[in-house]
Assembly symmetry: C2
Homo-oligomer: 429 residues x 2
């Protein structure tokens, strides 16, 4: 329920015209702003009877029922953008169009993809998961057998460790948000806790690592700490309520809340308990950074806090001085997002955004902030802090710490430059 | 993280073999049950090297990237089942296959439908929403204008007031769960709070009701209390992250957390503020019950607490004496589910199920309960209690209170009969 707006509510809380996050709960907002937002966004009907005249689609029966629905044909522009290897088109990525989405759920059809050799067409009746290595009794599971086990759901983001890697470039890349930062998506994953399956196999006390392997044409594998897998990892069978889709790992995916994407092995077929990592390609040549000191940063696993303003964002256009909702997404692999701050003056001053409920651990958190833009050029930024106290760094600090050899794990503050015409571009500022 | 299982953990907490809800957090569960669950669900590999032999799909590149994903062809059985009027096939329903789904999210492609005259093919550029009646200034909104307003998300169920109405039959209907109780689904809906739009139009203090109308070929309309719309209703533009699909109201749907399905008007085109309800067909001839007293129960709106066991459920088959996870869904239009109890002895004794986090207001809540079935015939039930203290009634009590003239708002406890062969059927017990 709204409460009455007072003149205090329109006092900026930080530079560049940021207003208090509670403003959207106030009644009378639109009228109070000299009609600006109101007249830009709505208008009195010319003549009510004519405006209410019924359109053609109200004069005939509509389309029949469908067993499985699809998006409107008018939304065909909303798709994953694909970036694949010219010589090996099954090796590449597809990006989630984050700037076209709202809320915190990513529809499964738009969940980002990273494949090393395409999407295997797996017959679920033939697929097997084997748990072996340092266990008392190796075990083999069919998909149907796993469906009988107790399950758990995790509503969580998965982010590729290579997401946003154009941020390491010398010059800011100019693309719509999703085509640059869209290797992150958020779903409800449901499956069998690994702790139950490992317990059944009987863990040898010497085991500390687990090698996970997928059943794709690249035989993708990675090494993972056994402790974390016992904590909260699942062998997922469901994504957003239904069985996982082929490109997300059908029929089985290893899902590890908060860990970088490559560890969430798709088409999971093997878990081998060992005493040390296997030093696979994707934990040595990739997803590991050579630091300025000459040492490498390896097995970082946990995604660090990050946030993005999804609107306004690059490629969109401001529609003149007005009150806007700045909105975006924040996440952290270390638990909950504690706060998101927004700056509308290039980082000189900051104010706290409203975090939309529910705020869940290792899940997307949607933030919203009212902003009275005066039409002058400026720079927008957002900065996430997680519940451990970690603060998303400015780009300059991240580059200084990590150097430029790594090309992974880029989580610096993102800056949108707005010019006098309202055009929005990616800037380093 | 699991903790060690003790013999106490295997003591039943209620009749019929119900075990404590914390059992799934215990280590060693599967082995402790005499290998029953273990051997039924997994087996030692015959010869590890052979079992790990790579299947054909690991020897060739997989399928390329796709702009918008689809479910696996192996899951084609998972679809909405359609029940439409023979003479007017655009009037009917389609049911969500609840027994095939896990977690709390319903994928948008499987969200239930209730159409009175099909799905209109609406051009979003031509669609208008008008707010008029008892307002200072009638307003007209385009879809693009609404996209500029501040938004909110609600992760909530929507249930048709006619869901489960076969429960009023003299004999228990025999169908898979979804084809009987599947007019309920759960999504994240995002859009503009109605309070903001009504404030902008300026509410005449005399207004107490709002007539909402859709742009379909049936011109579906209903009357709603203004107070509730000001509280938490939204004009939704997004479902599960992406723009609403045609059959769920593209481009605009009125979404009212906790209110029965028919009030969540799809293809929303008109909101008229008035002093009294319009007494439309869907609030008089339908969704209103003639009680045994001769009076009618009308404008009940809020969905009362309900729960269903999704597994095991009708049409499925038990696979012998073993430890099972009983799992299901509970919801209430009045806030949060406070608890769900399960009975495995036809209602003689009950034990509390585990509620999976997050437990959100007016959202599906997934419950889980371990059960050691001894192979003997029995009856399973679940009973939800909401945070107001309301308890889901037994069928006998509901029929006694409401009589048999209404055919709506059926929320009685659902009973699954299990026979000596493990076959599961719907029973009145």
């Amino acid at each position: 329920m709204t409460t009455e707006l007072t003149s205090d509510d329109l006092q900026p809380v930080a530079g560049g015209g940021l207003l208090h996050r509670r403003l959207f709960l106030k009644s009378g907002l639109v009228l109070a702003t000299a009609g600006a937002a109101g007249h830009a966004a709505a208008e009195p009907p010319a003549k009510l009877s004519e405006d209410l005249a019924s359109p053609s689609w109200m004069h005939a029966p509509g389309a029949p029922f469908t067993p499985y629905g699809k998006p409107s044909k008018h939304e065909a522009r909303v798709m994953r953008s694909i970036g694949a290897n010219k010589d090996l088109p099954t090796n590449g990525v597809s990006w989630t169009p984050l700037e076209e989405l709202e809320g915190i759920i990513t529809p499964s059809g738009l969940h980002f993809e990273r494949h090393h050799n395409g999407v295997p067409e797996i017959d679920p009746a033939q697929h097997r998961l084997v748990i072996h290595g340092l266990v008392k009794q190796p075990l083999m599971f069919t998909v149907n057998s796993l469906l009988r086990y107790p399950m758990q759901s995790h509503l969580i983001f998965i982010e590729c460790g290579g997401n946003s890697n154009a941020g390491w470039h010398e010059e800011p890349i100019q693309r719509p948000l999703g085509g640059f930062h869209g290797l992150v998506s958020c779903s409800e994953w449901t499956g069998v806790p690994l702790a139950i399956l490992f317990d059944q196999a009987g863990i040898d006390p010497k085991a500390t690592w687990v090698i996970a392997e997928g059943a794709d044409g690249a035989v993708m594998n990675v090494s993972l700490p056994l402790k974390k897998l016992m904590d909260d990892a699942i062998v997922a069978l469901y994504q957003n309520g239904e069985r996982i889709r082929p490109e997300n790992g059908y029929p089985l995916r290893l899902v590890i809340p908060g860990f970088e994407g490559v560890t969430n092995v798709k088409w999971l077929r093997r878990l081998q308990l060992t005493t040390e990592p296997v030093m696979a390609r994707n934990e040595t040549a990739k997803y590991t950074e050579l630091l300025p000191s000459g040492k490498a940063r390896q097995f970082t696993f946990e995604i660090e806090a990050k946030s993005l303003i999804t609107s306004p964002s690059a490629g969109q256009k401001m529609f003149g001085p007005n009150i806007y909702e700045i909105k975006g997404l924040a996440w952290t692999g270390r638990g909950k997002v504690a706060k998101v701050e927004v700056s509308a003056d290039g980082g000189q001053s900051w104010a706290e955004a409203a975090l939309q409920e529910p705020v869940l651990s290792r899940c997307f958190t949607r933030f919203r902030m009212p902003w009275n833009w005066d039409g002058k050029p400026t720079v927008l930024k957002s900065r996430a802090t997680d519940e451990t106290g970690y603060v998303q760094p400015e780009r300059e600090m991240l580059v200084k710490e990590r150097g430029r050899n790594g090309y992974f794990h880029y989580n610096a503050i993102l800056s949108w430059g707005i010019d006098e015409d309202g055009a929005i571009s990616h800037v380093y500022a």
